[in-house]
Subunit: 345 residues, 2 copies
């Protein structure tokens, strides 16, 4: 970023043109992408899945330590994750950005580069959006459109008593990555041109700054012919997402402390900050793993799938939501998930 082009020299149309003129659509379902009043999309005999997500500076991201390219990448991936959590495939993305005038064109191109990288990796077309200046902070709103066969869509409210509760990957790493970044923030504040180099950095920073959506898990479930009975992605922490599934399905659950997957670097980092790794996994958020339930009959298939942990089972609503500790105590689960309104003040 040696050039610096002021946004005010471009105007809105000039900016949109600069940001979008290299964007190509490759999905057969994208009939018309950027450049008209609306994008035109066609899926025959399938349903359309749509999800939108808002990211605001100072609340969802802190530009003093997340590089703009990673911010773009993460914003896109987080939205794709919502479509996978419905057992669908993301196909198109729309992005609206209100940008603080303190940014140059080149800075926003970095952000778009991150969006483009994510779209390329996940095979998604960028088909529209809106761009505006902002008198204050930077805001992004993303809308992702996906497709699925109607009978394969998995909702949150359809878990059944006796179903196994499964989660992909491991939990808590993104939160401990955030703890590290918050500690290092002073360094970035002292030198505003410094941005964390995460390429050679460790796992927890990667998980915070460049998360991936579990496209692979959806593909593997399809291959194993398992249709989850309910599913959600872990954006606000395991406890909060379990509460969504149980509340919406009118069920309870038991999960087991010793089954919750936590990476050893997460344990190490949590301990550095005198935090319980389990608390990071339960309430940390931003892991973007898939939390789902499957019928008991799928046990044999799911158990051989190394990327999946079976962490408990669904019970009747009257039994409540419980964590069974290693000491065999039963503790009621409470959501202390990420709360934008309290955090943002």
């Amino acid at each position: 970023m040696t050039e610096r082009t002021e946004l005010s020299t471009l105007g809105e149309f000039g900016l949109i043109d600069r940001l979008t003129n290299t964007i190509k659509c490759t999905q057969t379902s994208t009939i018309k992408g950027i450049g008209d009043d609306a994008a035109v999309i066609k899926y025959d005999h399938k349903v359309t899945l749509v999800s939108t997500d808002l990211l605001t500076e100072g609340i969802h991201f802190d530009l003093s330590y997340i590089p703009l390219k990673h911010l773009g990448y993460k914003a896109a991936v987080v939205n794709f994750s919502d479509i996978y959590a419905m057992n669908g495939v993301p196909r198109q993305l729309l992005i609206s950005i209100a940008i603080s005038n303190r940014f140059s064109l080149e800075a926003i191109e970095e952000l778009y580069e991150g969006l483009r990288l994510a779209c390329k990796k996940y095979d998604v077309d960028l088909v529209g959006g809106d761009t505006s200046s902002s008198a204050s902070g930077t805001f992004m709103s993303l809308t992702v459109i996906g497709e699925a066969e109607e009978e394969k869509v998995v909702y949150r409210n359809t878990a059944q008593v006796g179903d196994l509760i499964c989660v992909s990957g491991d939990l808590g790493a993104a939160f401990t990555g955030l703890l590290l970044l918050e500690r290092e923030k002073e360094v970035f504040l002292a030198n505003p041109n410094a941005q964390p180099d995460i390429e050679n950095n460790d796992y927890v920073l990667q998980r915070q700054l460049r998360p991936e959506a579990r496209k692979d898990i959806i593909a593997k479930l399809e291959e194993l012919q398992i249709k989850p009975t309910s599913m959600i992605d872990v954006s606000d922490g395991l406890a909060s997402e379990l509460m969504h599934i149980c509340h919406d399905s009118e069920k309870g659950c038991n999960i087991y402390e010793n089954k919750i997957p936590i990476d050893f670097t997460t344990v190490k980092t949590a301990e550095e900050f005198n935090m319980e790794p389990l608390i990071c996994a339960l309430n940390g958020g931003e892991d973007y793993e898939l939390l789902f339930t499957v019928d008991l009959k799928d046990y044999d298939k799911i158990v051989q799938f190394s990327e999946i942990s079976i962490i408990g089972h669904i019970t009747a609503a009257s039994e409540g939501l419980n964590l069974i500790t290693n000491a065999e105590q039963s503790i009621e689960l409470t959501a202390q998930g990420w709360d934008a309104f309290k955090k943002g003040q």
Copy 2:
């Protein structure tokens, strides 16, 4: 608004629940609305149209004079207009809002009430969204999803030489309404509880504060069996939209000063501010009328349609974009449309 509930007492989930618990979906295409990772939508044998729009405080709206209910209504209508401009029908809406903590729950409920009114009037389901606090101003991003038969979709880039250029309603009123509001702003600033009463106020204020999308024009074109050869909605001013159509279609145009529809209250208000009514119509923006081109063969049908003015015709690109004045002078059209990046500073 006598109650005042602080947002911080609700939390994000509490707020979303309060805002959305009365929202009902009625479209047969809405399989699942708010309450999962994504909305689920199904159109058989039709295309999906998607458009997104970003509104930022201090740039797109000024809360010192637009009542929140009207802001919600306008934000929704502006998005519906994009779908009509494709010759489609809006069916679902998603809304993301970042809200300044200076607002109470009741204030945001006013905004949602406006969204709901618009959805009801235009028969659209509110199916999703995201809500966050904002450390600074208020931001809204709306995404609207519509449907159309594939062969009926009308693009911007398909105008042909000889086509008639048509516009619905009248132009420039919304801009002169804005001039009035800017002048009256001092009154609202002096008394922050005052908000303009537009119910009994005149036409230009209505056009600025509570615009409507031209659903009726799309229905009438269908009834008359006219498919426009190109179409766009007038959000940035007639000149700017004509440039989009001509640029994208690689054509030129001649439009005639004496054919441009301007309401007499617009003329009166413009003159109060020592402005040319014609300039307000050409460059004012926010009229949300439909600008479209039709084949000459449709002349007999379109001419009897009182809500439509034929203002000129499409020419070869080499002839440029011209306004023929009442004095029979030809002036090149330039876009001085609304430019968020320059205006926002």
